[in-house]
Point group: C2
Chain length 407, copies 2
């Protein structure tokens, strides 16, 4: 009789970290419902506000949640367990282990972006160093879509849908009352979300007419000239600008105006209208166009209730479930979930396990082939990439405008 | 044999004015489809960009539009004919008549707010003075919900739905990553839209926790104290602020920072993050709370694609159709459409004809009984008023959070 593989019996803990998304609870619920299928997983703990909840032993019993309530939570935006932006110090990690050991945690799941993958990696290393057997998995999430190894990340599709629908309406608003409209979109170093604004275009003259990404150096002179060019042609101009745009020296345009920095060393770019107002002022003064407006989409992009991509919801759920399957499969002691996609036109995705270090720290950026040579637009290849992730969008109607001859 | 009432034969023109809404094209299409039923209406012209289109003889033939295309346009946000913020001078009015007479216009419809009602009134007066028989009707519209005679106005319900869904998500975002979040909402003199943020509340501790309306003098000291109070109690605070908040002397808080003024003498309040940033700065400095963010919802509130109130869509359509019915009924030569509502719990509305002067110029404000005595919240009576106008909202799930005893 063949030796039966020994299963790792113990408790599980799961936490959410970083910026919330509209589908982050799908991953949570996906993981919890999958965990309930595995007998080696005893208690299913949730940590409130990420690692902070472990450090403070502020835990809840997710195993007691009803399926009906979990399903309602899954449909609800923003991290149901609460989130945190704290990066653990070596001392924090030591304390995390004391707690994990005390609660007999053998399955650790952390839903978040690259910072959270790094945190998971640190904890996994510490567990190994301590000779404590524990499965450590990171579950991919970020509206920025900047995780390596992933074709795209849970949360991005829904945020991109919000941005696209916002631009659809805003383009029509600008068409009705012409002028220059600048919209500032989230994305510190990666322009994916800003680029998704291009999905708003349904007619040849639809905006956004210009798209500025952090992947290309931003020149104020070129920006003013670009806007003037579109305005002269169409009598109006809608612009999508990433909050993370930086000059040729890599200095963020916004950083000259906003001082707050979080514990990861990131300048606060969201939750302020300063960048949009700055750009609008430049256009008013330099391009001498009087009606110039700026909106900063802000936190609505990641948390707006009622606008989710169905594909995104499904994939976020699958990522959560996959992490538990990988952990319980016995093949891997740790890793991260990565969304993979089949090449070709037919949209098909699946979740693979990848090494934590492949996702941690470094992020990915918009590849060159998705950015127009002009540096102020995206390519058709990007549209083909992003459209199925976002799914169907409202159809925009236009009057045919049968012109009446002047009398 | 009784004398048969003489019908006024001639052409019709319709135009859209002021800020776009998500349902303003419902009113346009409602009017056009109704006009097609009346034989006395010959040509159905649309004027591009409000009165500007008449002044420049920039007209289109709406009678040639297919019903299918009109239905698609009806579902589309923002003024399909284009809009304008220009208030006609007496010279403009003279020129308008020359054009109207030249095109044998006998039915004039103007979709807009109180400024547009005033414009319609001026044109009607000029028509009478010129001895030119013409039916002049204003069709109610404004997200601000500030038209007199109306229980509520087309456009408000959808904008309120957007605001409510935005706050639902933002409250959850703030709950996940606690701090102070300030959201600036459109509404120059009337707080209805800001007040609608209260619809986001589904649990007792849900935000918005504080609501500031232009109907109550805004004191920076009280604001800081209010926020501190909520923050001390809940560890977080979500605030809804109307862009039009003013101090005890009636000076707009924003006006100290924003200079641009439109041709109606209104200070530009939207399309800038200045007010939100100012308020956030005050809280950071005076309340010594570090995580403070501000978002200004901006134009998304009035034009976002894909979030419309079904009730609002239906009523906007009905208002457009009603204006044509009133004009063709023979009973009235002019007027405005007003949405009336039956008293009591059962939601039932209809469109009445009212005098142009009853809607023009002056606007209405939140009545006292809908504002909490504290001056920083709304009452249950307001919720009962606004909920059926907005219609169903997403249901928010929460974990039950079965706390685990500390070991």
């Amino acid at each position: 009789m063949a030796a039966k593989k020994q299963k790792l019996n113990g408790n599980m803990i799961i936490a959410q970290s970083g910026g919330p998304t509209v589908v982050i609870n799908q991953s949570l619920v996906g993981a919890v419902l999958e965990a309930k299928k595995h007998k080696e997983i005893k208690k299913i703990y949730g940590s409130l506000h990420g690692l902070k909840g472990i450090l403070e032993e502020n835990l809840c019993d997710l195993g007691k949640e009803s399926k009906a309530n979990l399903e309602l939570v899954a449909q609800t935006p923003s991290s149901a367990l609460g989130s945190v932006r704290k990066k653990p110090t070596p001392e924090d990690c030591q304390k995390v282990f004391e707690v994990l050991r005390k609660y007999d945690i053998r399955y650790f799941f952390y839903i978040g972006g690259n910072d959270s993958a790094e945190t998971t990696h640190i904890i996994n290393e510490a567990a190994i160093a301590a000779g404590y057997e524990m499965k450590c998995f990171h579950i991919c999430k970020t509206i920025d879509n900047d995780l390596r190894e992933n074709d795209h990340t849970p949360g991005f599709g829904s945020a991109a849908k919000f941005v696209a629908q916002a631009f659809m309406g805003d383009n029509l608003d600008n068409r009705a009352l012409p002028g220059v409209k600048i919209n500032v979109i989230m994305g510190r170093h990666a322009g994916f979300l800003t680029a998704a604004s291009a999905l708003a275009r349904q007619y040849p003259d639809d905006g956004p007419h210009l798209i500025y990404l952090p992947e290309r150096p931003f020149s104020m002179e070129k920006f003013v000239a670009d806007v003037q060019g579109v305005y002269q042609k169409l009598g109006r101009c809608v612009v999508a600008v990433s909050e993370g745009i930086a000059d040729e020296n890599g200095e963020a345009i916004a950083s000259k105006f906003i001082k707050e920095v979080d514990s990861h060393g990131n300048v606060q770019l969201s939750g302020s209208g300063a960048l949009g107002d700055l750009l609008a002022k430049e256009i008013k003064e330099k391009a001498q166009i009087s009606r110039v407006r700026a909106d900063t989409f802000g936190y609505l992009q990641r948390s707006f209730a009622g606008v989710a991509s169905a594909v995104d919801q499904k994939e976020a759920r699958a990522a959560g479930a996959a992490a538990v399957k990988f952990a319980c499969g016995g093949e891997y002691a740790n890793g991260s979930t990565a969304i993979k996609r089949a090449p070709g036109k037919k949209y098909m995705t699946w979740i693979e396990r990848t090494e934590l270090k492949n996702v941690a720290k470094e992020t990915r950026h918009m590849p060159d082939e998705w950015i127009a040579p002009s540096g102020n637009d995206v390519t058709k290849a990007f549209i083909a990439y992003v459209a199925p992730i976002v799914g169907p969008l409202p159809k925009i109607g236009r009057l045919k405008v049968y012109k009446v001859a002047k009398k």
